[in-house]
Amino acid sequence: MFKLSSLLFKSKSKSKNALTIIRTFNNLQPCNASTHANSRVPISRNFCTAPERDSIEYDVVIVGAGPAGLSAAIRLKQLCRENDTDLSVCVLEKGSEVGAHILSGNVFEPRALDELLPQWKQQEAPISTPVSSDKFWFLTKNRAISLPSPFDNKGNYVISLSQLVRWMGAKAEELGVEIYPGFAASEILYDSDNKVIGIGTNDMGISKDGSKKETFQRGVEVKGQITLLSEGCRGSLSEQIMKKYNLREKGGAEHQTYALGIKEVWEIDEEKHQPGAVLHTLGWPLDHKTYGGSFLYHMKDRQISLGLVVALNYQNPFMNPYEEFQKFKHHPAIKPFLEGGTVIQYGARTLNEGGFQSVPYPVFPGGAIVGCSAGFLNVPKIKGTHTAMKSGMLAAEAAFGVFNEGLDMNTYWDALRNSWIWEELYKSRNYRPAFKYGLIPGLALSGLEHYILKGRHPITLKHGKPDHEATNAAELHSPIHYPKPDGVFSFDVPTSLHRYKVAWLNF
């Protein structure tokens, strides 16, 4: 066996990807390239190898420095300390810094944090605005009808999740966790037994046509005895893993359902600002068949976060969630908050709404899935941070058991089902599926569940069609006319996208 020096040929055809990456061969072989669909001409190459990658090894590799991933990392190091041992833990984060890609409402329930870092207040966690009021409105085009709030936010806080995650990152590093922002895990590594042995990071310095720039750097292999995937909702590697190992079937889970949350942070007039005020609305601008609602939370420093969450199984293909959000801001009960204010930031993120029915079997050979990548968001509470963190902690405990006592990762699945995550998700399992019958039946069933049944019955409603199948044909609907953005309260997409590019950590 001899290694070949790497030679790279640019394709003579003008296809989009001029560079074709070919597998490493240990002996001389002519390789017929064309590994991508665009290439129409199979081009034969000689003596081609992909440049070899550096390989780094850890005990545990965690993909994603979000609440779940960092909770897992912190818990692992805590267990090491308690047991006078050590494990090398590496967290990879695709954002340029920890917290850069975090986006959430967020009304935070500190239950998991109290378990993980009970001294968080003394350690100056950025959690300082307790919920001071909790309003719930049903909106029509011109009115806001106050309804009893279905939420119980006593003891919860209005926070910026990205700031909290940034703080958690610092705590993790203090405990010896290695965190590397700016590196995306782009592929999963397997051994010959199809067991996951780690991930590969992305190559950097590739230009738009696929060729290498002068700053090209090959990605690296980060290998771990255990790999935890905490990529957030619909994580790319998590989805691959779930498909490969049939984790949905294995867990008896239905498909996952999603919603899109679109959010802005505004700095408003002092007199209008009530720190800790929490507002949720239902109804306008969404129609009876579309599940979703808005939120408006007052943080500190005269800042509010407001947004619209739209379930992605909406039927009208002309409906545009972004435009609905811009419309929403003009409602006579909402606009006054924004008058005299400045919009600081904008962003959007999907969230899972599948809940109990959609949790896949979260363990695979070589690792496990934690947080929203598996999907532990409590839909009626609209909170997923605390359950994500708890799942990270449970996975860490299972992983520690693997190293310390020779157990296997399946103890994570058992731990999940015996935890308060399961209790919460089970109790709230029927709220969201009830809305497949429409807004009013959904509200009625929710009322029934909330005040009387509280999930204590054997019926588990199934989800409706998967989101992508729920969209109707265009001919069944009429186009919606959206008003032009006025540049003061509502904005066009390019303006909002430009705001998003800014790396503010106020989400």
Binding site: E178, F183, T201, M204, T215, K501, V502, A503, L505
Partner: protein
């Protein structure tokens, strides 16, 4: 030959800056900070010179609060051999940076001092020129190309000036400040970031170096530039002249 490179920790170039409500400066809390882009270019050039065999060591220097260590670690991850952190919590004006650099140069004795042409937070474009003056070294500023000749101990620098490119030949030791087109900085790879953790960073304070950094400048007020007003259509030449005379006050 040793090369010394300065790297400044500034607000990331992509961040949209906002003025603080009390107008004393811009908001820096919770804002992303990065290495000044021109300093990245300076460091890249130093690394390339070392890789071509013309230098033995690249030392990165940063001045400011404790978080500057992060910037130095990035520099070490790119390939610098050692770091020096001068810890100071007050604003670092160019003259003080230049004075401190002079002291560091006397300690380290580099053959070449490379800086970015300016920092993107204050846009001063002064430090390189000042330190060259203090050291009495030749300077090649706004460099778009640098070629070293080890035997003759000179650096040939192409400078981007208003009317084109000016080529200077500088005797070493010299000061060079880098402009945008000099090079494309490399990415710090994961293995290099890990190796950088064990590279040494030496700490100094301005007091230890006998430099007094009491500011002789006071920032009175920081305001946003006035919003650009929309254009106005005029109906006749007379109206245009009227407006130029009385509104714009240019004639």
């Amino acid at each position: 030959m040793k090369i010394m490179v300065t790297v400044k920790r500034v607000i990331d170039y992509a961040v949209k800056i906002r003025v603080k409500p009390d107008k004393t400066g811009v908001v820096t809390q919770n804002v992303k900070m990065s290495m000044n882009p021109f300093c990245e270019i300076a460091l890249e050039e130093a690394l390339r010179i070392r890789e071509s065999g013309l230098a033995s060591e690249v030392v990165a220097v940063s001045m400011g609060p404790s978080q500057c260590v992060d910037t130095l670690r990035t520099g070490l991850a790119m390939g610098a051999d050692r770091g020096i952190h001068v810890e100071a919590n007050d604003s670092m004006y160019p003259l003080f940076v230049a004075k401190i650099l002079k002291k560091l140069v006397e300690i380290e004795k580099p053959g070449l001092l490379i800086l970015g042409k300016q920092a993107i937070d204050d846009d001063c474009n002064q430090t390189g020129q000042m330190v060259a003056g203090l050291l009495n070294w030749p300077q090649g500023t706004f460099a778009s190309k640098v070629v070293l000749d080890k035997e003759k101990q000179v650096a040939t620098v192409d400078r981007e000036v208003d009317d084109g490119i000016e080529t200077l030949c500088l005797n070493l030791p010299a000061v060079i400040t880098t402009d945008l087109r000099l090079n494309q900085p490399r990415y710090a790879t994961l293995p290099n970031i890990m190796k950088a953790k064990s590279k040494p960073i030496k700490k100094f304070t301005p007091k230890e170096l006998n430099v007094d950094i009491k500011p002789d400048l006071e920032i009175v007020e920081v305001t946003e530039p006035p919003k650009r007003k929309s254009g106005v259509l005029v109906s006749s030449v007379d109206e245009l002249i009227e407006k130029l005379k009385h509104e714009a006050n240019v004639i």
